[in-house]
Symmetry: C2
Subunit: 241 residues, 2 copies
DNA sequence: ACCTGAACACCGTTCAAGT
DNA sequence: ACCTGAACACCGTTCAAGT
């Protein structure tokens, strides 16, 4: 699909039925929607703001791409296509880690778009390149009758981890962030003995113990740790020793 | 927090400033919002529909619970409080599996509410009971400097798995479901050699290879398989052998 | 303190009418 | 085939005005 070319058409009066001078295409619409969501977040995106950005009336979008849900499906498609699939390697451990990291890296590049994945999902019949490669790797490992479960476990955990880490921590105003920090720092050691005793170790790094916007991304080590657990677990189950 | 008592107040005319005969409380609002989201899904829920259900004007809600984001935070709180924490046990493996299953079971009981978790998050300073218990278990295992990462890996994977499995598969009309099924059944074996060759094994059971609404819930075995991988991985890292 | 009534600035979507 | 212009049925939120 074409790269997102910057379309900043200034709305200029046009009579009924008159063509736009820059012809609106399906690709332009999807690319612009992608850019708007990416830059302004889901709240700054609407069918109407997209139409304005493109210099057309909202109804035009419906003619080209159908309704909002369908458009978001196309954006999802675009996003998934942007993930680089690491070259197949003999070392399946290294390959799986590379795939997982590649997926996460792409999500971090476009967090606002990536957040859509968990909410408004489109058809999933295309974009099966990575799933197919993962199924292949697991089958080659000898997953056998556990193939589905190994697949679901790995994909669900990796994809899910990224969704959870990117989930918004409430509204990102300085005040609410300060409030959260204060509340977390003054937790009752009676009720939460373990979090409080390991507070310095967890603060701003652990899920549920974050407050600033910069800490949306969890430590890379946490992700690698997870993938390590999965890989070792698979090896223990399927590889002869 | 009080159980959700059924409030079906029929809107009856009231003059300016007049009190409702059934007094509206914060708890009633939250409980009713929970019920509406649960029953009708996020699309059937709005501040206005909630107000109508309660027999008041929308502005009343703002007086009691603040804006929509804040209300959803309270609903989230309510949901999380509903998770049963299994009694601490000496067998940490059994305990972790029990906690993970308990979380997932609760999500499946209220899928529409659970879906909110990944999107509109409130403050997370309360409801730290389960996180605290998990931190405690991992610390006791001897996670040491890897405590954060072990915690993030386990919680991110378990919570994330559930989010991914519950994510909507596009719109659930019979036609679109049939379309997806047809597309999946007629995948190109050249492009997707592994999925096609294991199709019968994966169909309706694997992420990305589902089409019906009944298959939102992945096989329980897949979830248990994941938790097994995590537990074994932790044991291999932290337990002396 | 608590609620009404109305208003404001938005939405997504549809549709007849134009070229 | 492609787009306008207007309309419809909704939103979330605010605010003065009532009791």
């Amino acid at each position: 699909m074409a790269a997102a070319r910057p379309v900043k058409a200034v709305r200029q009066r046009r009579g009924r039925g008159e063509r736009a001078d820059i012809p609106i295409t399906r690709d332009t619409i999807v690319a612009t929607a992608f850019r708007l969501i990416d830059e302004r977040g889901p709240d700054g995106f609407s069918m109407r703001s997209l139409a304005t950005e493109l210099g057309v009336f909202p109804a035009t979008l419906y003619w080209h791409v159908g309704d909002r849900a369908h458009l978001l499906g196309l954006v999802e498609h675009e996003w998934i296509n942007g993930i680089e699939l690491p070259a197949l390697s003999d070392d399946w451990r290294a390959w799986m880690l590379a795939v997982a990291r590649s997926y996460r890296r792409h999500a971090h590049r476009h967090p606002n778009v990536a957040r859509l994945m968990s909410v408004e999902r489109a058809r999933n019949t295309d974009n099966l390149t990575i799933p197919d490669a993962v199924v292949g790797a697991l089958a080659r490992l000898g997953a056998g009758d556990d193939l589905v479960h190994a697949y679901n476990a790995v994909v669900g955990a990796v994809q899910g981890f990224v969704v959870i880490e990117l989930a918004r921590i409430g509204d990102p105003t300085p005040e609410s962030m300060a409030d959260t920090e204060r509340d977390l720092r003054s937790l009752d050691p009676q009720r939460f003995p373990h979090i409080t005793s390991h507070f310095d170790h967890l603060a701003e790094r652990a899920l549920s113990v974050r407050w600033s916007e910069e800490s949306v991304q969890l430590p890379d080590e946490s992700f690698d740790f997870l993938v390590g657990l999965l890989i070792d677990g698979l090896a223990a189950r399927f590889l002869p020793r």
